[in-house]
Symmetry: C2
DNA sequence: GTCTATAGCTAGATAGAC
DNA sequence: GTCTATCTAGCTATAGAC
């Protein structure tokens, strides 16, 4: 409970348990990176981390939970880097670019096991389902980063309500695309993200221009109503 | 190899193997519907189908493969119903509505185990990955249905290239949404689909109107270029 | 509360006999 | 094409040490 947000905890302050947990996590990630997620067994991880199998399960209820913990770590890192990276940047396009590419850079080397994050996507009740109840805190944290990215920019009040969620959803798609992207340095993903952000920001600008406003307004209104009905109300 | 498209095969013509496979499939689906996907074991299925566990695995390499086979069946049914349902319908909005709602109706009662389709989404090399090489034939077949839906309507040549793929992608999202939708009769999904289709068709109309064409054209051009670069060329 | 050691369960998947 | 037997690995359980 009181650990939330304690991302900068010093090693010295950690309890024995926290240290063990960290060792298991890092060992597992090393193995995932070296041999792949599927072929690495919990027994392998425990052995390499020099703990009993039971200890690994004591800290991580499942193998996927290790990847989920890794992703938590990623999110903390992302929030940190985004805070720095956004400083001084004013334009919407630039700010979104910073946030998205930072995320890509953080994840890039771990494409091999990122797929595990999506294993329970079709399983609403599973605690690790991307869209499920169990991952709501992480989801909110992630959305908050996108909220931060559009904060201060001249985005209309209507858009501000659901754009962060759309960006979060889009960023999930980006991660999936990244996993499938075999191009050198995953440049294809980077290019696609840039293209999408170009389109998005141009669209946002367009919607605020008085000239096309009459055309766009009914669209936007309908879209917002629809999303609200679909259960995507943003209650911040 | 020679079975593809033989959806109307008569029972009498089936070999013993084909009969066994069908029995296993139907038995499994019954169990999935009655008790759920996770709790139903391959042993349960084999026992209920009165075959050995090995026999089940002889026909279906994994438990998810059974759901995949079910989905093949769904697609054949969908193609059939869509052919009938589209007859006489001319407008884009109406045609898309027919195709999408038909799909929903076919899947509606089986939400409980549809999630299994997405289990390997994050696993590019898995034969059952939704976006992977192994499911390309099914994907093409599904896209062809959407192509059929927009055929004959006044959609621009540019849009015609990638709209079917966008619809396929959207329809995947729809299925995911359906899985999470606990509302009575899954009306929320139906409403969302209708809303989305309204927006889409209005947007398509807008893009062909001479008035806004100068605004929309560069958008469209960039989008197509981008998608092509991302590897979504449509080589029909 | 943090761990070890170990044993066992379950169920997905496979091998090899027939 | 079908069966029986077996393997594997995720996961659980327990009892005890510190």
């Amino acid at each position: 409970m009181f650990n939330i947000g304690a991302s900068a905890m010093k090693t010295a302050n950690r309890t024995a348990g926290e240290k063990t947990k960290a060792v298991i996590l890092e060992t597992a990630l090393d193995l995932f990176r070296g041999h792949g997620f599927e072929v690495t067994t919990m027994r392998d991880i425990a052995r390499a981390a020099k703990v009993a199998t039971g200890a690994a399960y004591y800290y991580f209820p499942s193998k996927e939970a290790i990847v989920a913990a890794y992703y938590d770590q990623v999110q903390r890192l992302h929030a940190e880097k985004a805070r720095d990276g956004l400083e001084g940047r004013a334009g919407l396009r630039e700010r979104l670019g910073v946030v998205m590419h930072l995320k890509l850079e953080i994840l890039e080397d771990d494409r091999m096991f990122l797929g595990a994050l999506f294993r329970y996507t079709g399983n609403p009740d599973h605690p690790l389902s991307v869209f499920g109840k169990g991952t709501e805190p992480q989801r909110r944290h992630s959305v908050a980063i996108f909220q931060e990215a559009i904060a201060g920019t001249n985005v209309s009040e209507e858009l501000r309500q659901f754009l962060p969620w759309a960006l979060w959803l889009g960023h999930l798609g980006m991660i999936l695309f990244l996993i499938y992207d075999e191009t050198e340095g995953q440049q294809r993903t980077h290019k696609l993200v840039d293209g999408m952000l170009d389109l998005l920001t141009r669209f946002v600008e367009l919607t605020s221009s008085a000239l096309v406003q009459p055309f766009v307004q009914p669209f936007q209104a309908k879209m917002l109503r629809m999303l609200r009905e679909a259960g995507w109300t943003v209650e911040i």
